[in-house]
Symmetry: C2
């Protein structure tokens, strides 16, 4: 085996190249101007209150719904179910480690016991797992894909800009041709179709379903509580994400039966209410760091190339689900 | 925007190309011959018993230590600490959501209260976060990197073989030039150096430390309980992984103070014992699916291209931390 001697610049320790007082990703977010933050509309939030824990502490989970043009058939159903208070009194009946916490009607598959669904829920076809341009199915070049994605909102986000303009982040993705952010959401795209879709990251919320071609109504929902289950992308509908309180779903005891089902119904976590945020009086206002902002650009670059004193070897890249979009309570 | 019409083969629905009765990854594992499994030596296992939960149920965590040539200075320290029963009576004092559960001496930074460490712990330098060939630092071509990695054990695993021989899995990785499996462990490698290192996946165990150049002794350990924190690779030492009972660390209540610290010491989870497996009478025998076996090759391919009836769109790729090495209790 022969190995070439590297140029000195390549072999130099990354530590030697660090600026003296580099900011951490968190410090960049904390220092970002108010103008780089966007309010999250209360119309796009749902509030799920689980029964208090064993010590009587409240467990509130705040859910942000996926924006257009993604998953809107299912999102519409979820809005209807929440408006009807359909989940009230139901449970989190399945918690599988490094996988999902799932809620809805534990008796949903038992015709004699199942809770009736509200009328008017849409039956959404599989084709809606992705969005694509009008017309026949096609295969696009990378440039054509970029052109199409750019029509979605003038830009399709900091992630994409960083990887293509500056090449400062390596975002190679095994599940898609491209990954990027759009209006604060992590997305992926393929040249085949072409098509774009919301990805499953930690705290993403998806629609459980039976065997295809069923796509689920939205009545049974799951939150991802482990490593991003990206194999579910384009196979189940992502309808939102938990922006506050994911720990109340991720720290539940794991169910002992197959797939994390609680064999004993007494183990289930009771849902006191799951309502549109407009019906909840004491909810703070939330905002997210615009993924089109300069602050997000710098946050992304710092996250992929950690320069603060704690790190000795910056990674040089980051995956879409490891770059969490900052969300905070508005000041 | 213009899009080219694709060839029919490209545009065809993946569902139409599915074999009639494709096995799931789990079914491939279940059907694999006994000869494809390798026993995990009891000498490489530690057993941590947390105090029983609120309902009196036991919480046993089984830890497999990292094999040579990786992280051996720290692994040696961890062996000494376990042999000395140093962790007995200490606690899991930090649980941060989508990040880590950490245990050791919660008073370790208070000189008046800190528990004395056993004598003879090695002070391991930062250079040991990776392994590299003897000699000066160099930059290798991809082919040279492969040649070097192949010397590690004749082969460096199914992942690599799949990606390079058949190109059936897309394993693009933003954190490294290559990812692969070696003796059952997920690893990464860079052409710079060249070097190879163990990666942080869900349930990986690493060595907490203070600011560099400190690298930690191994007395304070963490387990990853969320999306793979790959930015920690080459920055903290990975010394092992939880092969049984990770749910007892991942379902603990999250600490309310910054970094997931339990502000109230009463919230900490008590460690009854953390001992070498040879000292534990009632431990089953564990084995893992050899990452050099045909079964693992098929398992990897099926995991990256899900063909069973539940899936409508196989991903065509998978990331190293989403391809979990199967571990089971020996029959």
């Amino acid at each position: 085996m022969s190995l070439l001697l590297a140029l000195a610049a390549v072999a130099a320790s990354p530590a030697a190249q660090k600026p003296a007082a580099a900011l951490s990703p968190g410090e960049i977010v904390a220092a970002s101007p108010a103008t780089d933050w966007q309010a999250i509309s209360r119309d796009d939030l749902l509030v799920m209150d689980l029964a208090p824990d064993a010590k009587g502490r409240p467990r509130r989970v705040v859910i942000q719904l996926m924006p257009e043009p993604f998953s809107q058939g299912w999102v519409g159903n979820v809005r209807k179910l929440a408006a009807a208070h359909w989940w009230d009194g139901l449970t989190v009946y399945r918690v599988q480690d490094n996988w999902v916490s799932q809620w809805g009607d534990a008796d949903g598959e038992d015709k004699g016991k199942a809770k009736p669904l509200p009328v008017g829920l849409e039956k959404v076809p599989q084709t809606r797992y992705v969005v694509r341009p009008e017309g026949a199915e096609r295969s696009a070049t990378h440039e054509e894909l970029d052109t199409w994605l750019a029509t979605m909102e003038g830009t399709h986000g900091a992630w994409h800009a960083l990887t293509h303009k500056g090449a400062v982040i390596k975002d190679a993705d095994p599940y898609a041709d491209e990954t990027f952010f759009y209006r604060g959401w992590p997305l992926a795209a393929s040249r085949k179709g072409p098509s774009a879709w919301p990805v499953h990251c930690y705290a993403s919320i998806g629609v459980a379903r039976d065997a295809p071609p069923d796509t689920g109504t939205g009545a049974e929902l799951y939150a991802a509580i482990g490593h991003a289950p990206r194999q579910l992308d384009r196979n189940l509908a992502v309808v939102g994400r938990v922006i506050d309180g994911i720990q109340y779903l991720s720290s539940l005891p794991r169910g002992p039966a197959p797939m994390g089902i609680y064999a004993d119904p007494a183990e289930r976590a009771a849902i006191q209410s799951l309502h549109p945020a407009r019906e909840v009086a004491d909810l703070p206002h939330y905002e997210f760091l615009s993924t089109e902002s300069d602050s997000f650009h710098r946050y992304a670059e710092a996250s992929a190339n950690r320069q603060e004193a704690f790190y000795v070897q910056p990674a040089g890249g980051i995956d879409i689900c490891n770059l969490k979009v900052p969300v905070r309570v508005a000041k």
